[in-house]
């Protein structure tokens, strides 16, 4: 395992789709290569931050227009 082959396998490593042998090979490389370790750890953190992020509140005018649109559509379908 080297830096180039690690990137090729990175997607499956992050998604835990690799078999044990390849995974062990990656993790051995990570103990020796600081650059790859930073890339892998910050990639995981990127996923975690986005996954945990809460959406901003919906602006009230946007929310009201959404509910208005729902009401109007029903009214058109069933005058």
């Amino acid at each position: 395992m080297n830096c180039k082959t690690l990137v090729i396998e990175l997607e499956q490593y992050l998604d835990e789709e690799l078999d044990a042998a390849v995974r062990a090979s990656i993790e051995e490389h990570l103990t020796k290569c600081k650059k790859c370790r930073i890339i892998v750890n910050t990639c995981k953190k990127t996923i975690e931050i986005y996954c945990n992020s809460e959406p901003a509140p919906l602006p009230e005018d946007t929310r009201l227009r959404l509910h208005d649109a729902l009401a109007k559509r029903l009214r058109r379908a069933h005058p």
Partner: protein, 249 residues
């Protein structure tokens, strides 16, 4: 009960839904078909399915069934539960406020009109996300017809390996207020090209599987994987601007 008293159309909706439900129930079935790094430390992979904010509430199937049987309050609850997430999705994809709002509206309207077609084979939210992403992509293609080709060839070769990498400080997200962090995440994803940000949005924010993402976007599974890798690496790099380790960490 509707939880938002300011929804001034609630009563109208209730009355119309009751009429709609009565008519639908009185129809023949055929007519209903309309429609850190001093010592090597490898962080664990985030267990997304265990993160509370992303867990679909257990009452979703009951709410969907109630909405399908004509209970407007149930559909209203689903809209209120997901409207923020769907707006973030359409905004991240379109990168245009007006288009995002239109796409969100159209997504909920389509979901409402086609609710009887939802079979429960997937999560309702996954079904809703697929509708919303299609609406958002239609808006994006209309505005930038020559720039949005999700299935164009992408280079996933050696240029994906950063030449220099900077480490992040501990808990970087905690260094920002929620609103500020939200802006940073939104800005970073907006800097990605549409094929990358769309795949990232579906896989890592909406938590669709690789297969569900491929199906929703009309891509092959390998194409989803290669775009996702590029998107994750690019976002990691962009976030380094904000999250890099400072001198005193």
């Amino acid at each position: 009960m509707l939880s938002h008293p300011q929804c001034r159309f609630a009563k109208t909706l209730c009355a119309l839904w009751a009429a709609h439900s009565y008519r639908m129930n009185s129809m023949l079935p055929s007519a209903m078909d309309e429609q850190a790094m001093s010592s090597p430390k490898i962080n664990p992979v985030p267990q997304r399915q265990q993160i509370p904010s992303q867990v679909v509430k257990e009452d979703e199937p009951q709410l969907v069934a109630a909405a399908q049987s004509g209970k407007l309050e149930a559909f209203e609850t689903l809209v209120e539960r997901y409207e923020r997430k769907i707006f973030r999705l359409t905004l991240n994809i379109t990168q245009n406020r007006e288009d995002a709002e239109d796409a969100m509206q159209e997504a909920f309207l389509k979901a409402f009109e086609h609710l009887h077609e939802f079979q429960g084979n997937s999560r309702f939210y996954t079904w809703l996300v697929r509708i919303a992403v299609n609406q958002a992509l239609m808006k994006l293609r209309k505005r930038r017809p020559n720039q949005v080709s999700l299935d164009a060839e992408v280079d996933t070769g050696e240029d994906t390996i950063p030449r220099e990498v900077e480490d992040w400080g501990p808990s970087p997200e905690d260094r920002f207020e929620q609103v500020e962090l939200s802006g940073i995440l939104s800005e970073a994803i907006g800097e990605l090209d549409p094929p990358f940000r769309t795949v990232f949005q579906l896989r890592d924010i909406e938590e669709l599987s690789t297969e569900e993402t491929a199906e929703a976007l009309g891509l092959s599974v390998p194409a989803v994987k290669s775009r996702l890798l590029r998107a994750r690496l690019k976002l990691r790099q962009k976030l380094t601007r904000y999250f890099r380790r400072s001198d005193n960490q």
